[in-house]
């Protein structure tokens, strides 16, 4: 069995690379190139493969941090990235008009592949784009049968990345302790 993983998923510009950088013990390995898609969301570059970071634990174990590529044409990689994943952080970008639909799609794809369906959604850029609100995300997810945490975050702030991790771990504990 390989090392455990935590997956970061979401559209381009949602903050996957930033979140991994906040947690990783090594500079994340990422493949960034200029692209039309990146420019469309105000980025210089975008990840065309995936970000890889890692967390080294005190007993020598490794937890890998995988940033799933945001473009739909790379969705064939999602099952590979999700192997041994103990949790998935789905990052939403509230600037996007289709943000709720995209978020539901990501949850639909990743939740079945992750231990105990352990996902959390972080909604970014709500400060300048307050709608849709968290309730709207939760309504949409509940309509699909998903009762997962959704919270407003600013992924540039490390404490918000840690909050998402804290929630993932708490959900894992609750599911695991109930076994």
């Amino acid at each position: 069995m390989g090392p455990y993983r935590i997956v970061f998923a979401g559209p381009i510009g949602a903050g996957k690379t930033t979140a991994i950088q906040a947690l990783s013990d090594i500079p994340p390995i990422s493949t960034e190139v200029a692209s039309v898609e990146a420019e469309a969301v105000g980025k210089q570059t975008t990840t065309v493969a995936f970000d890889l970071g890692q967390v080294l634990l005190e007993n020598g174990d490794l937890v890998q941090l995988y940033g799933a590529p945001g473009q739909a044409r790379f969705d064939f990689m999602w099952p590979m990235i999700s192997e041994n994943a103990i949790g998935a952080v789905i990052l939403a970008d509230n600037r996007r008009p289709d943000t709720i639909e995209l978020t539901v799609e990501y949850v639909r794809e990743f939740a079945p592949r992750i231990t105990a369906g352990n996902c959390v959604v972080g909604v970014g850029r709500s400060d300048l784009h307050p709608k849709p609100g968290v309730d709207a995300y939760q309504d949409a997810l509940e309509a699909e049968g998903f009762a997962i945490p959704v919270m407003e975050v600013d992924i540039r702030r490390k404490e918000h990345t840690l909050l998402l991790l804290d929630v993932l771990l708490a959900r894992l504990e609750a599911t695991h302790d109930g076994a």
């Binding site: 455990y4 947690l23 967390v55 634990l57 005190e58 007993n59 174990d61 937890v63 103990i86 231990t115 105990a116 369906g117 972080g122 909604v123 968290v134 939760q138 509940e142 009762a147 997962i148 945490p149 959704v150 919270m151 407003e152 975050v153 918000h160 840690l162 909050l163 991790l165 804290d166 929630v167 771990l169 708490a170 959900r171 894992l172 504990e173 609750a174 599911t175 695991h176 302790d177 109930g178 076994a179």
Partner: protein, 346 residues
């Protein structure tokens, strides 16, 4: 020793300027305890003696706020605790403020926490000595003021003992505060003395233009989650099992580590208060605050109906089967990740 505040109301501009200068010069003689406010509310209010009849203060002359009359004669008008006679000399001003200091300290010493102090009413609609908001002021505690607001929402500013704003509330807009989320939660936990001031129409309009407002539910959550001596809300009890219908938005709402654990526990299964304490390793006070706060969000429900319980049970069993694939390694992994990132339970 705490600070004492003084405000000047209804005085001619040159008189007010002269008195301000004199107070600055006398600061050391007064023990550097007096702060001159540019606000309608203070411990001592200096007003022209000839306009004292416009103010009707309920309560004794020695109850706060103290009214100090600036007059040309020796007769002390009704309602004033003392006279400051023209022309004002430094020695006389120091003497009067030292008397005020004694009365203010005595009045504060009798404060029992939640205390309704006399309201001051102004009868003159034009050229008012006291603005509208001055008439609707209540000295109380932060939690009592906020509870009152929840029962009967009005446009209000809640001030602390230094007359600095803790938050303001407009029923049509929500609440606004310059405090951080953590500072506001800390204030609710410490529950300091506060002044509850209803806002005039003009003040409301100015505030609506100038400030950003937040959802009132966030204020309610903060009120409930930050109680230093909590009791379970009457709608809740120790007997029934409670379940969360959805996660609180911990990205916006103040919370403690234990709240995340409790949310996880209550999303996974219905629990009584004491079961929740055991499962989430939380103490009674923390769990009571959490149940009260989540109830106020409408996110808490009593134990499911039989049909819903069956469905939930099937989902739980599926989760358990999935989790069982990696039992012992996961426990160790979770603990190590928590220690690594400082995410241990509070």
């Amino acid at each position: 020793m705490s600070e004492l505040t003084l405000t000047l109301r209804g005085l001619p501009t040159h008189t007010a300027a002269a008195l301000r200068s004199m107070l600055v010069l006398l600061d050391s003689a007064l023990g550097a305890r007096w702060r001159l406010m540019d606000a309608p509310i203070a411990d001592v209010i200096l007003v022209p003696g000839e306009r004292m009849s416009e103010i009707r203060k309920s309560g004794s002359d020695e109850e706060l706020p103290l009214l100090l009359a600036l007059t040309s004669g020796n007769v002390c008008p009704a309602g004033a605790f003392a006279v400051l006679k023209r022309p004002v000399t430094p020695a006389h001003l120091v003497e009067v403020l030292q008397l005020a200091e004694t009365l203010v300290e005595r009045a504060r010493a009798t404060d029992e926490g939640i205390l309704t102090v006399p309201l001051i009413e102004s009868l003159d609609p034009g050229g008012r000595l006291a603005p509208e908001s001055f008439d609707h002021r209540l000295r109380t505690t932060l939690r009592a003021a906020t509870w009152r607001l929840f029962q009967a929402p009005v446009a209000v500013t809640v001030l602390d003992d230094r007359r600095d704003s803790i938050y303001s509330f407009l029923p049509s807009r929500g609440f606004t505060t310059r405090l951080t989320t953590t500072e506001l939660a800390g204030a609710f936990r410490s529950n300091p003395p506060a002044v509850f001031v209803e806002l005039s129409t003009a003040e409301q309009a100015a505030m609506a233009r100038a400030r950003e407002f937040r959802n009132p539910k966030e204020l309610e959550w903060t009120f409930w989650i930050s109680n230093g001596a909590p009791r379970l809300r009457p709608e809740l009890d120790l007997v029934r099992r409670w379940k969360l219908k959805r996660w609180p938005d911990f990205g916006r709402l103040p919370h403690y580590h234990a709240d995340v654990r409790m949310a996880s526990a209550l999303m996974a299964q219905a629990l009584t208060l004491h079961e929740l304490c055991d499962v989430a390793k939380a103490n009674d006070d923390t769990a009571i605050n959490f149940l009260n706060a989540t109830f106020t969000l409408g996110a808490l429900a009593a134990e499911a109906t039989a049909a819903e319980a069956s469905s939930a049970l099937r989902a739980q069993e599926a989760d358990k089967r999935a989790a069982k694939a990696k039992p012992s390694r996961l426990s160790g992994l979770i603990g190590q990740l928590r220690r690594k990132f400082g995410l241990a339970s509070a």
